[in-house]
Amino acid sequence: MTGLVLGKIVRAMITLLITVTLVFFFIRLSGDPAAALAPPDAPPQVIEQYRRAMGLDQPLPVQYFNYVLGLVQGDFGYSIHTGRPVEEIFLARVPATLLLGLTALGIALVLGVTLGTVAALSRASVLDRFVMAFSVFAFAMPNFFFGILVILTGALVFGVFFGGTGGIANFGQVLAPAATLGLASMGSFARFTRSSLLETLNKPFMGALEARGIPPMRRLLRHAAPNAAIPIVTMLGLSLGGLVAGAVVTEQVFSWPGVGQLLIRSVQTRDIAVIQFSVIAVSFTMTLANLVVDLVYFWLDPRIRRSGNV
């Protein structure tokens, strides 16, 4: 068990190191960062000065070593445009994205699992069909289109304008973008909960419990739910990537002042230090989240805990 957990942690660290290395080489591959930073009509001396200031005149292995050392020590570089440390710029955006992402995940999880449970318990009914149709709809709906529809409906029908507030002070403003962002995951959760719960309900032990006279609610909550929860945890891990990607688009549609908007703006202005930090931060978050999901998996499933094979 301990060995298994350690193995997972080592794998996560290797994954991160590879990402960090790839980011380094990609930036070097894309041409001379000094020339890209300097104004287009800068004389060669100025570019040379930039190069020296950024440490680009040193051999590649030395640069790589300094880069990794800097990351470990928390020196992530400075934005070209504002001159402020990138982690400061990035962290200022994190609360908005966390609020949006966690609200979206909450909506998706609660509504998705409820819908899936209802569908499984009323199998082959109209309700079941409706839930399945909804999950296909949610999967195929582009979130930018759905966001636009939400804004349009809000403006034309309810006279409310979602998006463009430029602030996160008003909690009501988070619901529209969060519902947009959570839609796709909600569909996946509903679908997964349904199939996982159906599979569990058909297992022989459920029949045995019924024969022993255990009441239905207790059978569902105490016996079926923990077994059915395992694939849902996997789904949770898988949906994180979709949420991060969706946040970039959703923030853009609703003018939500989060990390996604920062990333798009940095790409448009080629603010390399900010992009580099964002990519590494996203990779770190995702790797950590996947690690947590794996550990929750061990905790949920005693079989894995004991035997040690996944």
Partner: protein, 288 residues
Amino acid sequence: MSERRAPAGGSMPWSVRLSMGFVALFVLFALFGQWLSPFDFRETSLLNRLEPPALFTGEDSPYLLGTDARGRDLLVRLAVGAQISLIVAVVGTLISAVFGSLLGLIAGARRGFAETAIMTAVDVQASLPIIIVALFVLAMFNNSFILLLIMIGFTDWEGYARLVRAATLSAKEQGYVTAQRVLGSSAARIYLRHVLPNIFNIILVKFTVSLPLTILLETALSFLGLGVQPPMTSLGQIMSEGRDRLLNAWWLTLFPGAMIFLLALSVSLIGDWLRDRLDPTLIEGRRA
């Protein structure tokens, strides 16, 4: 795998028939839609900016679906956009499928170092949502159509690699592989001539399941202004141009948006149906 449900006549649900009809219509529109309009998709007309769709207003105007902010005909732009979006999605998904399946086959066949290396690459790819990778790459290099295709081709290779590796591992345990080995066939022959055709259904199903995701990725990137660049166009790009005029020119966003949604919906319905028919056990629970 070997057990297939009998293709009973008339068992295709109406939703799948409808989806196939829509996909056929979409492809026809992408191929020949330009002929429905007398205009070129780049042709601007300052006098006819933001014309509402004649199809809805009933006015006598050559702009059946209206014009955009530069007076370009929306109908012909949608046809060209559909064409580009379709090409990017299909080619991108194909690149993913071929590349990922080959790596998965190698990982399953060779085990050892090759497997570790490939599965580590899978982990790395899985730790970064493709849209973030795409943003990074597009920021570093000049945006070109070829680069976009390659980027989108990397969308889901890790999914194929995982799936094909697992299928190869289980195929290896089956009698026919042992028989081929005893007969002295080379590894390449065993895996390419015998294992690959046997697990092809799995790849096909995965292809139809990931095609809608690729469609959504390209349109999302283009919507963000980072995908297909002008003067070329795509459905996502048309939407992003119409976004600022949501309230006074709804046709610019609603038509392309509805096309993307219906295409992704139809392809996923067909994919679900194919999955149920071809492979009831292996793919279940694999859909992200």
